[in-house]
Amino acid sequence: MYAVENSTVAEESVSPQSPSSNKRVMIDVKDLSLVFQTNDGPVNALSDINLKIGEGDFVSFIGPSGCGKTTLLRVIADLEKQTAGSISVNGTTPEDARLNRLYGYVFQAAALLPWRTIKKNCAVPLEISGHSQAHQNKQIDKYLRMVGLQDFHEKYPWQLSGGMQQRASIARALCIEPDLLLMDEPFGALDEITRDHMNVELLKIWDETKKTVVFVTHSISEAVMLSTHIVVMSPRPGRITKVIESPLPRMKDLALRDTEAFHALAAEIRAALAEEHAID
Amino acid sequence: ADELTLQLKWVTQAQFAGYYAALEQGFYEDEGLDVTIKPGGPDIAPAQILAGGGADIIVDWMPSALATREKGLPLVNIGQIYDKSGMMLTCLKSSGISTPADFGGKTLGVWFFGNEYPFLSWMSKLGYETTGGSGVTVLKQGFNVDPIFQGQADCVSTMTYNEYGQVLDGGLTPEELQLFKYEDEGVATLEDGLYVMEEDLADSKMVENYAKFLKATIKGWEWAKENPVDAAMIILDYDDTGAQTEEHQIRMMTEVAKLLSSEGKGIGYLDPADYQRTVDVLLSSESAPVITKQPEGAYSHVVFEKAMSL
């Protein structure tokens, strides 16, 4: 269930065929704005954001650089506080959600601790939540296998390529099996093939575990490939221009990419993005 | 004019009033000398300066000069300014010291840097060990007499003309103090004297300059003795640190005057008997020998005699 009550997109865009229309709302953003006070004056990073994300949805934020994708994700994660408006995550404040360890966050950079092996890196969130050694090992094993790093668990991050590091950081976020997965351009550093592979893996995990995923990307095809809903944003001030609900099935495979429906959705997103660019 | 540089043993103070007086009153100039006086300091060894050529004449104490001579640096005494020692050990009566027999186990403040030889000789004579064990505890006294005020030492080394005054200034009264003058204990050694390099005495021109210098210096000391207040004021003028006080320097001048050679041929003459007494004291200490054998040619009257004949 999505609602954008923005000046640009005024109408309720709940598409009737949406299977999520009577789902529980996981994230509810109302009239949210965020202004950074900088030396050069205030920066309107987010302005009048209205957005509902249903449980189990896979939502992608797409838009040009600086449009506030990261900022919005950080507000959800309680890494940033809005300056106006309200937001609830799983019915509580973002802070409570964070304290309840509701979500896992994957940063754009891998952000692994260089003094810990890959395995010990994945153990960090588990150690912090106080899980038993046995449970830690089980989880780490499972998810390192999932991202294809089972043979590298004793290596240090700097002994791995950028893409492998990024996969390790995803495994780390998955280990605590959070209900909500927040991912900020997690595959930006990967080559296209690995990226495709990771996309498929992510889709599988999401489909199996019924997590809610909020995903920031620059890539149109990635957004199409993954999402149930695509949120197109535009900068200065950061706002939502359009929310597109994907007509494609939840579970997609790579073959889908050569279909008409895929290209049509990609074209729609590109058009929405270009529109904004033209104004600029 | 011929240039001569004099290296003092310590900072500018009335202890050296005679040289400054001679300079200020023009006595050196009268002799055709252009004299530079270099003040010393806590870490300046005058003999080192002399060896390096930084000075022509130095003011030093005889124990240290003889020890240096034995090290292979041939210093020669050409004139003795003080014939009495101003050194003493100043003790607190409250610490239970009334005779040297009470020193055992006590903490005594001593100056080092070549000034420790008389003390070591004395302790050796008394039979005290100074390097731990059953003897006395020795503390390397810093620049001042603080240890006695802070109860860190039972006795401190003082000069009659300087530190003793500071002890009194600091609030201790003579009644509270027990003094042991090296003179009275029979361990006195000769203090301020003038020393040059032996090889320079082979040069008659140098000898003549030294003689002129000695003559003017003697004159300066006599003037200072007569005019203690004026002499103190000269010292204040020459003191670059600006830390000396008038009253302190006047007192020092008065005390110093008492140490000046008075018997025999007066200021500047080294009495061989005094010399021998110093040597004997230094040789007498078995445990910490300052010198190991009777020095040869450590003093010369050539310059003094020449000065008298000028």
Binding site: - | K38, I44, G53, Q166, E176, T241, G242
Partner: protein, 293 residues
């Protein structure tokens, strides 16, 4: 979010100054008081707490002079004494400043020169670098007197020996910082220069020199403080020739604790101003390279 007063810099500084002053007074009372009590007891005189409190702040040879005494002495010797007089703290500060600056300049030049050599020449790096570090394990401050005396013996007197000690202390941080700085150039930038077939000197002046600047200034701040320490220590053995070091010495020699503290205060003030001047230069330079500060 509004800043609370507790986040203000000046507030913290003021609170700290007040707290330290209060602590200082308390400590002075305790230390000097104890001494007074000991004196009274030695003299078998009567004493009361009130007399002790009254006298503790006016002792002639205090263990710890109270702040106002130090400040009064400082004020008197700075403002109420002619600057040309040897009793003026300003005069002595200038004496120290002279050798500090000379030593600092020499040390900086030497330090930068060594760093350039080390960065551009492998042999120099391998032979020299270990000894640059080892050189600082020689307690130069301890042998400063010897150096001053030995140089004095060969008639190098006045400001030069002091400056040499300052130089020895200040070249080290400069060398270390500059080596690090000259090497801190982004690898990609260095390769860029390589693709342009830039000469060593072009690479130096266009790239390395700039990437070294932040490191250089950080080092200069350390170096100038070290130069000051060097100058002051070098003034101790030649105790009678002016400068803050000789003020410390003569204060100590004549038991004038207040004079020591005033000189110390002045030394710290001087050190702080020197560092501030370097920071100022840094700001100007950084602004010229377009960094907003």
């Amino acid at each position: 979010m509004k800043e609370s007063i507790f986040d203000k810099k000046w507030f913290a500084i003021v609170v700290f100054i007040i707290a330290i002053t209060a602590l200082w007074y308390a400590a002075a009372l305790w230390m000097n008081g104890n001494q007074l009590v000991k004196t009274y007891e030695r003299k078998n005189q009567e004493w009361t707490y009130s007399t002790i409190i009254a006298e503790a702040y006016q002792v002639k040879r205090p263990m710890l002079p109270p702040p106002h005494q130090v400040f009064a002495q400082w004020y008197k010797t700075v403002f109420d004494t002619k600057v040309t007089s040897k009793r003026s703290l300003v005069y002595h500060t200038m004496v120290t400043l002279q050798s500090t600056m000379l030593g600092f300049v020499l040390g900086t030049v030497l330090g930068v020169a060594i760093a350039i050599g080390i960065v551009h020449n492998r042999t120099m790096e391998m032979s020299f670098m270990p000894w640059v570090i080892a050189s600082q394990t020689i307690p130069i401050l301890a042998i400063a007197p010897i150096i001053v005396v030995v140089l004095g013996a060969i008639n190098l007197t006045g400001v030069v020996p002091k400056a040499i000690i300052s130089m020895y202390l200040s070249f080290f941080p400069v060398t270390i910082g500059m080596v690090k700085g000259l090497r801190s150039s982004d690898r990609m930038h260095l390769e860029l220069m390589q693709t342009y077939n830039a000469s060593n000197s072009q690479t130096f002046w266009m790239l390395r020199w700039y990437s070294a600047q932040p490191f250089l200034f950080a080092s200069l701040k350390v170096a100038i403080a070290a130069a000051l320490v060097g100058a002051i220590v070098a003034e101790l053995p030649t105790g009678a020739q002016g400068g803050l070091g000789s003020r410390l010495l003569s204060g100590s020699y004549y038991g004038q604790t207040v004079q020591i503290w005033a000189a110390l205060f002045m030394a710290a003030l001087l050190g702080l101003s020197l560092v501030t001047v370097v920071s100022l230069f840094e700001k100007i330079l950084l602004r010229r390279r377009g960094v907003s500060v």
